[in-house]
């Protein structure tokens, strides 16, 4: 353990903790934009600058490891004025159209501008404008709102292992884009959307579907596969308009394309809601009882006539472990055959 002093408070943190993490553990707030607890430190936004006794210039707390006896100051007129300059500079190159931004109310940049009371900006000038719209079906990339925090780049590389996007160009023209500035063509897991602190990355399907304040959040488990990722459905009326996942869950907030973006089926008119039984070549709706009785009867007939080995059971990766266990138990114990397999083996 390391003992250090932050804003006059003596704290103990494990070896290897950064100054930022040490401060946050003890609820000392240091503003950040590029930092994400699950990603390696970047040190780009410069908001988390702190003063450390004995070091002549402010340092980024996100990249500085806590050291024994360190004396850290997280706020001073000088630091706050630097932070304000950084925010003003970012906002001088930002559309500032929060009124129509999908992320209004849920945007770190907006929140910081609010806390720092930035109404007037000393800086103005050219703003990056991009006319290109990414043609991919899932992720809206409005790069004019991008603050180049690099979180999307890191999550794609460090968490997803895909590295579909990176920084390109230099200077004011720097931007995040897929290779050769083509349309995004990746897993579409949307991890980048989840970590983006601004409205630069959003779901295409989210567009103008409603503000967060009107949304009811419903926690549930994703039904797409047996992993059982936690989902938070954002429900408006009786309609899901967005899906996210909380960081304090077993999947740590990470999702795949299906869990994050594949929710349109919920209200689809083509969605199957009742069992169908084919009669004279035509599918007809039936009650669950009728359908299950029908299946049980047929299984019995086949087993009696041809023996248990005439039957095979094939289960699904979309079922949970428990469900798959029950299924093989049923095939082995009730039907009496070892002909049981699972789609994930193919």
């Amino acid at each position: 353990m390391i003992k250090l002093m932050i804003d006059g408070k003596t704290l103990s943190v494990p070896d290897g903790t950064t100054v930022l993490d040490a401060a946050r553990r003890f609820h000392i707030n240091i503003p950040t934009l590029c930092h994400h607890p699950k990603l390696t430190p970047f040190g780009g936004c410069r908001l988390c600058l702190v003063e450390i006794k004995g070091i002549p210039r402010p340092v980024t707390s996100c990249t500085t490891p806590a050291a024994e006896g360190m004396e850290v100051t997280t706020t001073s007129p000088n630091l706050e004025s630097l932070r304000k300059t950084v925010l003003e500079l970012i906002l001088s190159d930002h559309p500032n159209d929060c009124m129509i931004c999908e992320r209004a109310g849920d945007c770190t940049l907006q929140e910081l501008a609010y806390f720092y009371g930035i109404r007037k900006n000393r800086f103005s000038g050219e703003r990056r404008t991009y006319s290109k719209r990414d043609g991919n079906p899932f992720i809206e990339r409005d790069m004019e709102k991008c603050i180049l925090c690099g979180r999307c780049v890191k999550v794609c590389d460090e968490v997803e292992g895909v590295a579909a996007i990176d920084f390109a160009y230099r200077g004011f023209k720097s931007k995040i884009c897929p290779p050769y500035e083509k349309d995004l063509n990746c897993e579409f897991c949307g991890q980048c959307v989840a970590v983006c602190p601004t409205g630069a990355l959003t779901g295409k399907a989210w567009k103008q579907r409603g503000r967060q304040k009107d949304v009811r959040e419903v926690d549930t488990t994703c039904a797409y596969c047996g992993c059982g990722c936690s989902l938070t459905l954002h429900v408006q009326g009786n309609e899901v308009i967005r899906v996210t996942s909380r960081e304090d869950t077993l999947n740590e907030g990470w999702l795949c394309v299906k869990g994050r973006f594949g929710y349109n089926f919920i209200n689809s008119p083509e969605r199957l809601k009742k069992p169908l039984i084919r009669k004279d070549g035509k599918l007809e709706e039936a009650s669950w009882e009728t359908a299950l009785d029908y299946v049980a009867g047929r299984l019995k007939d086949v087993r009696d006539k041809y023996g248990p080995n005439a039957i095979a059971g094939l289960s699904s990766a979309r079922c949970t472990n428990e469900e798959n266990y029950l299924f093989q138990k049923f095939i082995r114990g009730v039907i009496g055959t070892n002909n049981v397999d699972h789609c994930a083996r193919y």
Binding site: L89, R122, G125, I147, F167, Y169, R170, G171, K173
Partner: protein, 598 residues
């Protein structure tokens, strides 16, 4: 031919084929000499053999192609040689013993050299850089042999520390201290990296050293490798230096063939190998952490220090990164001893420094001076003063990270401490001389354009802050400056310096701050009076015709591309300010000086 080669008198013809020499046609000149020599050797019996050598940069680029004819102890230098003159030199000078007067170098060549002190550039410019033997003949590779047989790595570090050499890449960090930190760092694999990225606009010191004496850099790297415990080195060199890259490749190949690189060198158990990594020409890749990322195949973006490269560098291993010039000094220090090196220079700034002297100065080129020399001596004695009858205004040191030093500080000695005190830095060796026609706001703008375009984009103050600085400077030079702009510049400069991650952002405001410090009145004139004192900012110029002088000849009217001038023949002409595009064509053509510019 009657006599054997050994008994013949030896005349050496040296042709400059540094990049300057090559650009001026050095290759063709060599061919012409070859041809002329062989032509004459056939029909005339010469009593000596001629060796033409390909030498690297000798610094006097303005007069390329330079050719030396060395006959025993006497050496004659020719300037501006073209292939057709080679034949005359062979015939008149080599055969008849009469130097070709019209092409002899003039006095400025000699004054150019008087106050210089050539350590690195001595061999660079006299030996054939494409021949490892040439380097060996002047003492090359004796340094590494010496340390392998008589010195421990700790001895070498002590020697380098005692010499007092400081890094030539810009920051001036003591080289011995850096090596020692890496030596002490935990790790079985370590690396030595030579930084040959040289991105400062106008700088060509490192390129010239590699082109002129690549083996000195290789030997320097070997010595460093031995000292820190590395077995592999990388030279990170920009791809825009094709000649230097070729030289280096050839040098490495020759070193391999002759047992100067590889396993168990010179009978010891020390092994060392070298790889070349080409940079794609991003200024920021010269910054050491970005350079490491670039070698590793990542985008060249700096990261926060600590950890420093000496602890966690290339591939996460302890790494020393040194500049070309720093490494090239090392063999000379080992050969001649630390006390020899530390006898050159001042108390805290030792040795010599190579500068690329450019701008409004008579003798431009590459110079090597002892540390502690005064700026004035460089500009007036070596540089020969300002071109034309213009007045000196300032000298810019340190390129985009540096600053401008005015007239009244020309007594400043060139040392790390003294130059920093002026607001500039010694930097890697760019030295640009400015005269009264250079607008200081414009100069600041020039450097900001460079740093802004070269910012890696990682941090906000550098990426957006330098853009806003540039925009403010731009509007000032266009006459759109506002009250409060100077204060805004100052506030933003100070925040960018403090809040940026790497040296690029931390020093990018220096050109603005140093010009504000010494030439604030120029900024004020632009903003308040809408005038450019140097008459360099086009948008602020007003052209008018002085009626009492104008003869009505009509030359200006014909020269004006905008049709802004009217007037009858032999009557005073007039410029319509609304149509005038301020190109200055009328000003240039009027024989009677009747066009007024203010």
């Amino acid at each position: 031919m009657a006599q054997s080669d050994e008994t013949k008198k030896k005349v050496v013809v040296r042709v400059c084929i540094g990049t300057g020499g090559l650009a001026a046609g050095g290759k063709e000149v060599i061919e012409a000499f070859k041809k002329a020599i062989s032509d004459f050797c056939v029909d005339i019996e010469l009593d000596f053999t001629c060796h033409y050598q390909k030498v690297g940069c000798r610094g006097f680029c303005a007069r390329d192609v330079l050719v030396d004819v060395v006959d025993g102890d006497t050496s004659v230098t020719y300037q501006g040689i073209k292939p057709d003159i080679a034949k005359r030199i062979v015939q008149e000078h080599l055969i008849n013993g009469q130097p070709v007067k019209e092409w002899l170098i003039d006095d400025s060549y000699y004054s150019f050299h008087s106050k210089q002190m050539k350590v690195l550039l001595k061999d660079c410019g006299t030996i054939d850089p494409e021949d490892i033997q040439a380097y060996s003949k002047v003492g090359g590779y004796t340094g590494i042999r010496k340390i392998l047989s008589t010195m421990t790595p700790e001895d070498v570090i002590a020697e380098i520390k005692a010499s007092g050499i400081r890094g030539r890449g810009g920051a001036g960090f003591p080289t011995g201290v850096k090596w020692e930190a890496c030596r002490k760092a935990q790790g079985d694999v370590k690396y030595i990296v030579c930084n040959a990225d040289e991105g400062d606009p106008g700088a060509f010191m490192d390129r010239s050293i590699i082109e002129g004496n690549p083996h000195s850099v290789i030997e320097g790297m070997m010595i460093a490798a031995y000292a820190i415990g590395a077995g592999l080195g990388y030279v990170y060199i920009r791809a825009e230096y094709p000649a230097a890259v070729e030289r280096l490749k050839l040098a490495i190949a020759q070193a391999h063939e002759t047992g100067h690189l590889g396993k168990g060198l010179f009978g010891s158990d020390f092994s060392f190998d070298l790889r070349i990594k080409l940079g794609a020409g991003a200024f920021v890749c010269g910054e050491e952490t970005a350079l490491i990322a670039s070698i590793e195949g990542e985008r060249g973006m700096p990261r926060a220090k600590p950890p420093f490269p000496v602890h966690r560098g290339l591939w996460g291993r302890p790494t020393v990164i040194n500049n070309v010039e720093t490494l090239s000094n090392i063999p000379y220090i080992i050969r001649n001893g630390a006390s020899w090196y530390s006898s050159i220079g001042t108390d805290k700034s030792k040795g010599t420094k190579v500068f690329a002297l450019t701008g409004k100065i008579r003798n431009t080129g590459l110079i090597e001076v002892p540390m502690g020399i005064r700026l004035g001596e460089i500009i007036y004695d070596i540089g020969g003063g300002i071109i034309g009858d213009k007045k000196f205004k300032a000298v810019q040191l340190g390129g985009p990270s540096g600053g401008c030093i005015p007239d009244h500080l020309l007594d400043t000695p060139v040392t790390y401490e003294d130059i920093v005190r002026t607001g500039a830095i010694v930097g890697s060796g760019g030295m640009v001389v400015l005269d009264e026609t250079d607008c200081m706001v414009n100069i600041a703008k020039f450097f900001l354009e460079f740093t802004q375009a070269e910012s890696c984009g990682k941090c906000v103050p550098c990426r957006i802050g330098t853009k806003r600085l540039l925009e403010i400077l731009d509007r000032i030079t266009r006459g759109l400056g506002k009250e409060g702009d100077i204060e805004l510049l100052e506030a933003l400069c100070s925040d960018i310096k403090v809040a940026s991650l790497c040296g690029l952002g931390q020093t990018a405001p220096n050109p603005v701050l140093s010009t504000l410090k010494y030439f604030r009145h120029e900024y004020e004139a632009h903003i308040k009076d809408k005038k450019c004192p140097a008459k360099a900012c086009k948008d602020l110029l007003i052209y008018s015709i002085l009626e009492d002088i104008c003869k009505g000849c009509g030359v200006c009217k014909r020269a004006c591309p905008a049709g802004a001038i009217s007037g009858d023949k032999k009557k005073p002409h007039k410029i319509n300010a609304d149509l005038c595009i301020r190109c200055g064509a009328c000003f240039d053509v009027c024989k009677f000086n009747s066009v007024n510019r203010e």
